[in-house]
Symmetry: C2
Subunit: 681 residues, 2 copies
């Protein structure tokens, strides 16, 4: 008796013998090979494309001859004619096994394909979204065995896809009968399975094969900005990324002023809820247009945000978050219909998922950072700071993770800075100051030249030089400190003391003229003493939060620092350390993770298991409440100096010399501290 | 060593020994005794009232002495002072066991108390509603062990009530924090558990003990009328029953004309959906007012209806129900938020449940009749006819159940009858005609006297005699037949043939003058030849449907007939049989079940298990499609005669003599038949 042909799949290496005539897709399914199919083997969707290999395969112990697969058939012909099939590709549902064969499953044909993000430091996302598309053939109704069209759809899903316990919302029941008849009893359905639940819910239905795709939004809802990625739930591609200002800013720049607004104004929380929901709906519509898709095909929304934004988005009065013991209404993840968040522009059945919150002041954004950066899996003791209006801080390794948040205020984002502006073309983002001449040069967003390069004026003619953004002000302050224009207490020296005419008197203090654009109709861009104080307050809060976690962990130094946050990617590690934003660490161990919270949201969007994982992880994180820790205040005061009043910075000393200068009695630090302690955001 | 005291509960007989000091409620719970409690033993809700018995109990082998329970305590004192406790009653959570004791659990203290309905023929409802109230004490938040208020509520429900997997909609999360603080960390929650599912959902929350109750609506949504019962979900009491006309009547009197309206008018289905939803919302508000409760405390709605009404209520275009193979969009039960049915006057989180449909023409109303009357558990072969604009017909016993529906039209409800009207004060509901004098006497709704009794005119002065309702026209036609005014073909005799001047000529036919109210400013109430034809068409459809099921079952007679339907209670069995509405059967085996569909809805409202049970039962019912059965037509034609052209009525012959008369060539029957076959409703 001759043996059945041997079928070997690569890259998995899974193998088995199958009778002659077995479709490749059938063999793959029986072996548990990760080969995609939406139409279930009807030769329509082309998701099951495979690449057969011919020749000798000593590693696998087989020789593959021509004819090991059945001849190209009419379905493949038609598909190739209409859509085009790459050379060497076959449709797995059409090609049948005729002899020993080695079959490669290309990445785009894998259901659980991996999506690599740009920053290579973090792990790729494995596609396993909560919402998927399948096509199914439904039995026609029979008067003598009456059953509903939906019941026959459920039966078909069970028989053809082994999917049980399917339910449908009213909107799908309303579309069901026309779709079945128009599709000649073949329909595509978008099926949603929430994490940790068995049953699946039909979110939408289309006649025949739905080719428009399914999409999701990963939204990082910050106090100041709302940023979103539009992702293809099929292959994980990011089709568009967009953002807008959080309109709640008009109710208060930081979180605590918004909580106060809610407390002082009856209905104020509802006003803020309405504002943020409208902005999110607008953003969803805009990003769909930018990505060139129908917004009604957005079926999932994942939101990460701090606790106050979380409550305001959900329509929960945040008043309890403004006073000890800072009780969250709910700390677990929240799954709900997106319609309840008034995201009216997207699919009416779309589902929203909010990551869990860690504590009253440590939100779903921190959870998302933990999901993206996985401090719980780090061998090195890792400090992660997610810099925004409110900073989320995580410290940990495989032995355990600590978390807190700290009220840095919006200075790092360019707000509360005299010439501050959003990161947009024309904004100064990089600064260098010559230690000898005290003369600056800078770069602006949207131009690759330094301001001292020939052609800079021409290149920036359209935008001009309009202000200074978050990373720009950090570099400017650090450069001023290194150039001897700023003493450790944060005082700007006058023209005599510094020898620079750019140090201009402003009342009782001085300001440093970074750029005078008046001749081009622009502003005079100064770094004022007030700007320095705002940055000092922000960086002290950040440092004090990190230091508090180090105290709890019982360490004086960390092995590694990751700068995250929407603009974390743009901060220069050296300048951050000169400023004393972060504890001293070897410079090559200070890296940037970009928008880690947003990336965490994308992971949760594309991978169901990640949702369960972060829900588990969050329960194990030890939370530290900065607002009631007496040592926070002490750390905050000591961190006011640049870089620090007491903590040594030996690693920084290796790369930067900070002049030991003193311009006079500092009036900073103390006065602002009391006010700041009441503010979050 | 002395034994622990013996505790015996009646009526269950459950017994066990418990240490001195054990609260009675604790002992009951450990033995699985059905003793209610909402507050969980805090002495607040008084649901756990018990009645201890003292003296000798030879049957139980114990003697109970004074002091077998602890002394009356302060909590009981306060409760008695504020609310009053019946003599001999104790609070089970306060009284503790001190010696051997016999404790009776009165019916009102049982969770699963039984509710007996008025008609004693059917079984009582055991209370086990899907939505129940529990009170719980929640741990206060702790900044150092941060967890959300909701997560601590879930923990308390698990620890205090063994309820796991609790979820909450946004509206509850929004109310949660103020409720917990106002209730000093004690709250009541309405918990909903759908049939066949494990998890429970919090539908609402109140500070402290919620004393306003939880309510449900059982709605029988008919083609012509919408009837509802308002029930207390705690004890099953019906607080109010109310009804109104289905406003869809303006789109067509019967079901098929409404389906046609939807087919002919784009958006017509949406118009009808809006109309019926508005009517239901109005009815819900009215019935709450009538019952004296806040409509926001209505948390459940159970709806039974025929398939066309089912689809129109759900917003599903009923077009498929108008043509073979009469495919339902969904045949299973439907559970959905009542808000999706725009029942805006009730609790925003209320849940709606629609019973399953049996087939394209046999709806959830037939399923409800099966639930109420349980033909599948009958030893006798039982025929159940639910008379309405569309008749639901069930035939079966423990060996199996058959079902069909038949398009009787609205004649039985007084529509399409010249002097027809709704059953309301002033409507003729009972009729007798003297076989000798051919003179009638009658009763009207709202008056206990016969029209020939002294004082009748005085008693009906306010309402007058305004028309004839469904049961009145049935009796009138049957009495005319028995009095020799009507021949078997349905022709009314003239004054010469009948010897009665009440038989007036109307064109080529005659009409019988039942009552002339013109002297009192009222109408002349006549039974016209057209009225007879309408009743003949309706009764033929009903009889033919029943006969078809008997054919399928292979029988010529049935053991028992149950007349159900909103006005089934008012039909006289004898008159129904004279008319030939139902097959011949011993008169004492023809009973009325009142509104069986409405009662089935009430069962499903009050008992979760009943929902699962009817979902199972429905799958086993054999469906017969009258619209495509050739024999239906034949049965219909033969049933046109009064009582019948061919079938013998031996049981009827024992109680009524029907004159063998013939007034001329009948033009009835045939002409109407063709038209009727296209109509349902």
């Amino acid at each position: 008796m001759t043996q059945d042909p041997l079928v070997i799949f690569t890259p998995s290496g899974k193998r088995g013998r199958f009778p002659v005539g077995t479709p490749v897709l059938t063999a793959a399914r029986q072996l548990g090979v990760d080969l995609d199919s939406v139409c279930g083997g009807r030769g329509i969707c082309s998701k099951c494309q495979v690449a057969p290999s011919y020749g000798d395969f000593p590693k696998h112990g087989v020789t593959v001859h021509e004819g090991a697969l059945s001849d190209w058939n009419a379905v493949e012909d038609r598909y190739d004619r209409v859509r085009g099939l790459k050379p060497g590709r076959r449709l797995g549902c059409q090609a049948t096994v005729q002899g020993d064969i080695v079959i490669d499953v290309p990445p785009e044909s894998q259901v659980h394909r991996q999506v690599v993000r740009k920053a290579a430091s973090t792990k790729p996302i494995t596609m396993d979204p909560a919402t998927r598309l399948v096509m199914v053939e439904v039995q026609e109704p029979d008067m003598h065995e009456p059953s509903g069209d939906f019941e026959r759809l459920a039966k078909a899903l069970k028989e053809q896809w082994q999917i049980e316990g399917v339910t449908a919302p009213l909107s799908v029941l309303q579309k069901l009968q026309p779709a079945l008849r128009k599709g000649h009893w073949q329909v595509s359905v978008a099926l949603h399975q929430p994490a940790g639940q068995d049953g699946m819910r039909v979110l939408d239905i289309w006649p025949g094969l739905h080719e428009g795709g399914l999409y999701g939004l990963a939204i990082d809802l910050g106090s100041t900005t709302i940023a979103a990625h539009l992702c293809d739930l099929g292959d994980g591609r990011v089709l568009a990324s967009s953002g807008l200002m959080n309109p709640q800013i008009r109710f208060g720049e930081d979180l605590m002023s918004r909580v106060s607004y809610a407390m002082m104004n009856p209905g104020g929380d509802a006003e803020m809820t309405r504002a943020v929901r409208e902005a999110m709906a607008t953003l969803a519509a805009e990003i769909a247009a930018e990505g060139g898709i129908d917004p009604a095909l957005i079926f999932e929304v994942v939101v990460v945000c701090n606790p106050v934004m979380h409550h305001l988005l959900l329509g929960i009065d945040p008043v309890e978050l403004g006073q000890a013991p800072f009780a969250l209404a709910t700390s677990g993840s929240v799954t709900l219909p997106a319609a309840e968040l008034e995201l009216t522009s997207i699919a009416p059945t779309a589902q929203a998922y909010l990551l869990p919150c860690i504590a009253g002041h440590v939100g779903a954004d921190a959870a998302a950072v933990a999901l993206a950066e996985e401090p719980d899996r780090a061998e090195d003791l890792t400090l992660i700071v997610d810099v925004g209006t409110n900073a989320e801080i995580l410290l940990g390794d495989t032995k355990g993770v600590l978390a807190c948040s700290s009220p840095t205020g919006p200075a790092f984002e360019g707000a509360q800075i005299s010439a501050g502006q959003r990161a947009a073309p024309g904004a100064i983002e990089r600064v260098e100051i010559d230690p000898e001449t005290k003369e600056p040069r800078f770069k602006v967003i949207g131009c690759d030249l330094w301001s001292t390069d020939p052609g800079f004026a021409e290149a920036t003619r359209d935008t001009g030089v309009t202000g200074i953004c978050g990373s720009g002000i950090i570099e400017a302050v650090a450069e001023m400190r290194m150039a001897g224009l700023l003493d450790p207490s944060g005082l700007i020296g006058g023209p005599e003391a510094t020898g620079s005419s750019r140090c201009e008197a402003q009342g009782r203090t001085f300001a440093y003229l970074l750029h005078d654009a008046t001749s081009a109709g622009g502003p005079r861009i100064l770094v004022t003493q007030g700007d320095i104080r705002a940055i000092q307050l922000a960086k002290s809060a950040l440092y004090a939060g990190a230091r508090l976690l180090m105290d709890q962990r019982g360490v004086d130094k960390v092995d590694r620092v990751i700068l995250a946050g929407a603009f974390g990617a743009h901060i220069s590690p050296k300048h951050a350390m000169v400023l004393g934003m972060i504890p001293d660490a070897p410079l090559d161990k200070v890296t940037s993770a970009g928008n880690a919270a947003g990336h965490g949201a994308r992971i949760a969007l594309c991978n169901r298991a990640a949702r369960s994982r972060i829900e588990q992880t969050v329960r194990k994180i030890h939370k530290v409440e900065t607002a009631v820790e007496p040592r926070f205040q002490e750390h905050f005061v000591n961190a006011n100096a640049i870089p620090h009043a007491t903590d040594p910075f030996p690693e920084l000393a290796k790369v930067a010399a900070l002049p030991q200068i003193h311009f006079g009695a500092s009036s900073g630090g103390g006065d602002g501290t009391g006010r700041r302690r009441r503010r979050r955001g």
